[in-house]
């Protein structure tokens, strides 16, 4: 039987649908840059669970999510949100992703406190004339008024 005869015979037996691989391969090719990061996060989760003798179910319980969702994460195909990464880092006590400048923000330890209106107007008198109270609370959280300075006034 020559190749042409075999190819003719194949036409009758080969599926008219394409292999699922074509779609999968296109997806992996088009999304490879974020998929690599996702795979790296997944591997870190799995190795940490193994090192701490925890199951995927244990992690799901700590996070209040379904075991199915955790299983989806550890396959390395999840486009993680920052929120999910932050929750995972806290639950596992590890760093999963490094973001430029993030360490500096963490060290500043900005705190939100309620300030009596009278104190606020004493400290930043020029600004309160121009902005609403709400605006000044926002500017406080951005460190325009230092928390320590405020504490001294209480």
């Amino acid at each position: 039987m020559n190749k042409d005869e075999i190819l003719n015979k194949l036409q009758n037996v080969v599926s008219t649908e394409p292999s699922k691989w074509h779609e999968d391969a296109d997806f992996r090719f088009q999304n490879k840059e974020w998929l690599k990061r996702s795979q790296c996060v997944a591997l870190n989760i799995l190795r940490t669970l193994r090192a701490k003798d925890l199951s995927q179910k244990d992690l799901a319980e700590r996070l209040g999510v379904s075991p199915q969702l955790v299983n989806k994460w550890v396959k390395g195909k999840e486009n993680f949100t920052f929120e999910t990464v932050a929750k995972l880092e806290e639950a596992l006590n590890i760093e999963l992703m490094s973001v430029t400048g993030f360490e500096g923000i963490q060290k500043t330890e900005l705190k939100m406190v309620e300030i009596p209106y009278s104190v606020l107007t004493q400290n930043i008198q020029p600004e309160i004339k121009e902005h609403s109270l709400e605006m000044n609370v926002i500017s406080f959280t951005c460190s325009e008024v230092h928390y320590d300075d405020y504490k001294k006034t209480i």
Binding site: I6, L7, L10, H22, L43, L46, R50
Partner: protein, 190 residues
């Protein structure tokens, strides 16, 4: 072990069977597994002794997972390109998937000189196929081969069963004569 369908991977050159009860054909399943971090981490944990036996050098589970994903990506992009363009080398109007014949005696690999296509020299990824005509292959399985021969580990013995089942199926539908086929594998061994 029953075959329920055959799919085209590269038209006129590469086909893949789907076994009963499986979610997709063998070729698609292989690349699913080689990109599934959970599957790979468990596989290398289960085969840690082989991984660190020195056949490929001493490699950690983390390195093994990363290496598998990288090698699978290179192999998949190569085959994807062949599937889309119909040829592996723009200068040559033909397909070259660098399959190697498996010795039927002990299923060890015949180390043939192959064209390098950007993969590591000692890739452990294997795609097993039956050659039914010149440059025409039917994929029936594959795996990660950490030992020297195929008949040393359970997961590779399963692949031999799949090769045999595919051979019987192809004979049944009159696509294979008794003496004109080879068991082959895609790899990049030099």
């Amino acid at each position: 072990m029953k075959i329920v369908d055959i799919f085209a991977i590269v038209k006129g050159s590469l086909l893949s069977v789907q076994f009963d009860g499986m979610s997709s054909d063998e070729f698609a399943l292989l690349f699913d597994n080689w990109n599934d971090v959970e599957y790979l981490e468990q596989f290398f944990e289960d085969n840690k002794a082989d991984l660190q036996s020195g056949f490929y050098g001493k490699i950690s589970v983390e390195e093994a997972v990363s290496r598998t994903i990288e090698e699978a990506e290179a192999l998949e992009e190569y085959i994807r390109n062949v599937a889309k363009t119909g040829c592996s080398d723009p200068d040559e109007n033909r397909l070259d998937l660098t399959f190697h014949k498996l010795s039927e005696k002990d299923y060890s690999i015949l180390l043939l000189k192959s064209k390098a296509y950007g993969l590591h020299n000692h890739s452990w990824l294997r795609i097993y196929a039956i050659r039914i005509a010149e440059n025409l292959y039917v994929v029936c399985g594959g795996g990660i081969k950490l030992t020297e021969t195929m008949n040393e580990r359970k997961h590779l013995l399963k692949e031999l069963e799949k090769l045999e089942a595919t051979k019987q199926y192809l004979k049944k539908i009159d696509l294979l004569n008794e003496d004109d086929y080879d068991f082959t594998e895609i790899s990049d061994h030099e």
